[in-house]
């Protein structure tokens, strides 16, 4: 009597499984494309947000580079026209390079040595840390902690023994913890007190230098003074303690000239007669609409600039600038305005904080969209399993193992995820670029972070595949558990 020689069923190679899956997807292209569309949407959303933030980050960096000269000039104007308070000194100290120009200036004004300067800088860093800590606290917690004092005054307030004890007692009651140990904070407070005389000396030293500058410039504004300066300015300022590099001198002078020109052109708007002429020439009905933006916008063209020069001559108050200078100045004014806008929008981005610079709201949106996507795919796959009860059961009658059925469905979903992810990724990339371009203009396109975007793209597609596979696990299990006798059932 011949016996059946029953062995374990062979394991099918993945390539065979893939063949079956691909022809299945082809056959059910409509259903598959709906699933792919769901994935594509979710991936596109992810990709847009990630790509957009990458581009904005890149833009922010180049904006920073672009505004750097202007900031540097403003920095000089401020220091040459206004006294330095403890806050300014703290700020400058945070960024000062040891033995750099700012460092040397402070050392001279404060009559300190390098060691004292290093100590002061370390103190300034701690000071910044604690200032941030207090600044982040809501009023309802600040009041019981330190009363009405705010900012740096908190540090002097806490020097009082009684206030210190009360502070230490209140802290745990509010459920708060200092960024460092209380002992270290107390240590800092002592250093902070000890550093006061040096900070005051620096302030006084600077004030002395400042009064000499004020004498020098007579009744000129600081910008006018700088505009008329020459390359010797650095030499002139050196004995007062200011350390200005020669290239800074020239840049500062050019900038000051431009600013002076801007102010001079802005001044012409004060003249009602000129405003009316301007409104008349450009057909502006509402006089309130004659604002610097529209004014400079017109002057940035050759005809506008020529018109202003002629108009001022007619009024009898010649501008003293050539049309070409007016045009250049207006263009610079517009550029400055644009950069300022970019800067503030970029700063608003930075300020939102959160994970990877995304606000909690955006993170929630991403999370919810991904969950919806998983549920959508799982639902589509379950429907696909239900529709194919008979096919699956027949396959099992023909010798398919549970593993093959599982692999089949997971692979199917994975392929759909890959296709949907690629489509969605490209779509999202495109949308992200368009969005960034609308928000930041040409700068966004010239600052595309190629490698970062590629990585984000790969990540988004991988996320699409992973989500699809995840969503397919339950439907695949359901399919694998199906009894082969379902094949016998006749509808």
């Amino acid at each position: 009597m011949s016996k059946f020689d029953i062995k374990s069923q062979v394991k099918l190679p993945l390539s065979k499984c893939m063949e079956v899956v691909l022809s299945g997807i082809q056959f059910r292209l409509f259903r598959a494309s709906i699933t792919m569309a769901i994935i594509a949407l979710a991936v596109a959303f992810l990709m847009t947000i990630l790509g957009d933030s990458m581009i904005v980050r890149e833009v922010a960096q180049s904006v920073e580079e672009l505004v750097e000269p202007r900031q540097n000039s403003n920095f000089w104007v401020r220091r040459l026209s206004r006294p330095l308070g403890p806050a300014d000194i703290g700020h400058i100290l945070l960024r000062a390079q040891p033995a750099g120009d700012r460092w040397a200036e402070f050392r001279e004004w404060g009559e300190a040595d390098n060691e004292a300067m290093a100590g002061l800088q370390a103190m300034a860093r701690d000071e910044d840390l604690y200032l941030r800590f207090f600044a982040d606290l809501p009023e309802s917690q600040l009041r019981p902690l330190v009363g009405r004092v705010r900012g740096r005054d908190i540090f002097s307030h806490l020097s009082d023994a009684e206030a210190w004890t009360a502070f230490l007692e209140t802290l745990p009651n509010l459920g708060l913890a200092l960024p460092r140990e209380p002992e270290e904070f107390q240590n800092f407070l002592r250093q902070w007190r000890d550093a006061r005389p040096l900070v005051e000396r620096i302030g006084a030293g600077h004030a002395g230098a400042l009064s000499k500058v004020t004498d020098m410039r007579g009744n000129l504004t600081i910008q006018e003074f700088l505009a008329e300066s020459d390359a010797d300015l650095a030499e002139t300022l050196r004995p007062l303690g200011f350390r200005m590099r020669t290239d800074e001198t020239l840049r500062l002078r050019d900038w000051a000239r431009q600013q002076t020109n801007m102010r001079r052109i802005e001044q012409t708007l004060q003249d009602i007669g000129l405003r009316q002429r301007f409104a008349g020439r450009y057909g502006i009905q509402d006089m309130n609409r004659v604002v610097p933006e529209t004014f400079f916008g017109r002057l940035a063209s050759r005809s506008g600039a020529e018109w202003l020069v002629a108009a001022m001559a007619e009024i009898g108050a010649p501008l003293g600038l050539t049309a070409e200078t007016v045009r250049e100045t207006a263009t610079a004014w517009l550029e400055e305005q644009r950069l300022a806008n970019l800067e503030s929008s970029v700063q608003a981005m930075d300020a939102t904080g959160g994970f990877m610079g995304f606000s909690t709201r955006i993170l929630w949106l991403i999370g919810v969209s991904l969950i919806v996507c998983v549920v959508g795919i799982a639902n589509a796959m379950l429907m696909s399993v239900t529709e194919r009860f008979k096919e699956i059961a027949t396959m099992k009658c023909l010798g398919a193992t549970d593993g093959f059925i599982m692999t089949n469905f997971i692979m199917e979903s994975g392929f759909q995820g890959l296709a949907g992810g690629l489509i969605g990724g490209l779509l999202g990339l495109l949308l992200g670029i368009v969005r960034a371009a609308l928000g930041y203009g040409w700068m966004a396109l010239t600052n595309l972070p190629g490698l970062d975007l590629l990585l984000v793209f790969a990540f988004s597609v991988a996320a699409g595949v992973a989500l699809s596979v995840l969503a397919a696990i339950y439907p695949a299990l359901a399919a694998a558990r199906l009894a082969p006798l379902e094949a016998m059932r006749v509808e």
Binding site: K3, S8, V10, K396, L398, G399, T401, M488
Partner: protein, 251 residues
């Protein structure tokens, strides 16, 4: 007609399937339905067995049990003296793939595959290399007279052609047992005849054991034995030669 086959059954009668007190009970709410109620039967290697019985009598349930597609509530099924209950999932898959061919009333072809691809599916599961599978698939399609339609998808074929493809598929790994559950239930008279003759040829030329559930009395004339089932019990077993005279009256 006393062929060599008949004599061999008389002489040796090797059993291919044996059931012992086979019972299957379905629960429908409070009610228990005994789809099989203690069936004891022996089916011999190489015979053509017809299972007759009204709808709902338990034919399909019987097939599921002896085909290793479902497990009984009680009792045992031996296929070639192997207790099916002892087999692992993987061994069951091997059994279904290599030892048993299934033919369904509704053909159950995979819709997105061509006739040839359908026929070669069980070969792929058995690990047969693609080239061999292709050649063998074409041979089997030739056997059922569909060689020149190998590239047709199921929707492009008539019911009879689909069922012939399904028969070719059931023979993919040369099983020793074919289980046909109302194979001509969806087909017209003439097409049904074609199917019957193919099954008869497989039985006579290749010695395949065929178990066929049917309402169709024409098949009785081809069978070696007929089993009548009623309410989950075997009502009667008869050899064809004993009932030839009554064929006309059995209906």
């Amino acid at each position: 007609m006393t062929s060599a086959k008949d004599r061999s059954i008389e002489e040796k009668k090797p059993v291919i399937i044996r059931t012992r007190h086979l019972r299957k009970t379905y629960r429908m709410g409070d009610e228990e339905v005994h789809a099989l109620d203690g069936v004891n039967v022996e089916i011999f290697r190489g015979e053509f067995l017809c299972v007759m019985g009204p709808s709902g009598s338990g034919k399909s349930t019987f097939f599921n049990m002896i085909g290793g597609l479902d497990s009984p509530s009680a009792g045992r099924v031996f296929i070639d003296e192997v207790d099916v209950a002892q087999l692992s999932a993987s061994e069951l898959a091997f059994l279904r793939c290599q030892k048993i061919g299934y033919i369904f009333q509704s053909y159950n072809l995979v819709q997105y595959m061509t006739a040839l691809e359908n026929v070669t599916v069980p070969m792929a599961f058995a690990g047969v290399p693609d080239d061999d599978a292709h050649d063998r698939g074409m041979e089997l399609l030739d056997l059922v007279n569909l060689k020149d339609r190998w590239f047709h998808k199921p929707i492009e074929m008539s019911g009879g052609q689909q069922q012939r493809t399904a028969i070719a598929r059931s023979m993919a790994n040369a099983p020793s047992l074919l289980l046909c559950d109302e194979p001509t239930g969806n087909l017209d008279f003439k097409t049904g005849d074609e199917i019957h003759h193919i099954l008869q040829r497989l039985n006579q030329e290749r010695g395949v054991t065929i178990i066929c559930a049917t309402h169709d009395h024409r098949l009785i004339s081809m069978a070696d034995r007929i089993v009548w089932v009623r309410d989950g019990n075997i009502e009667r077993i008869a050899e064809r030669k004993d009932i030839t005279v009554e064929t006309g009256s059995v209906s």
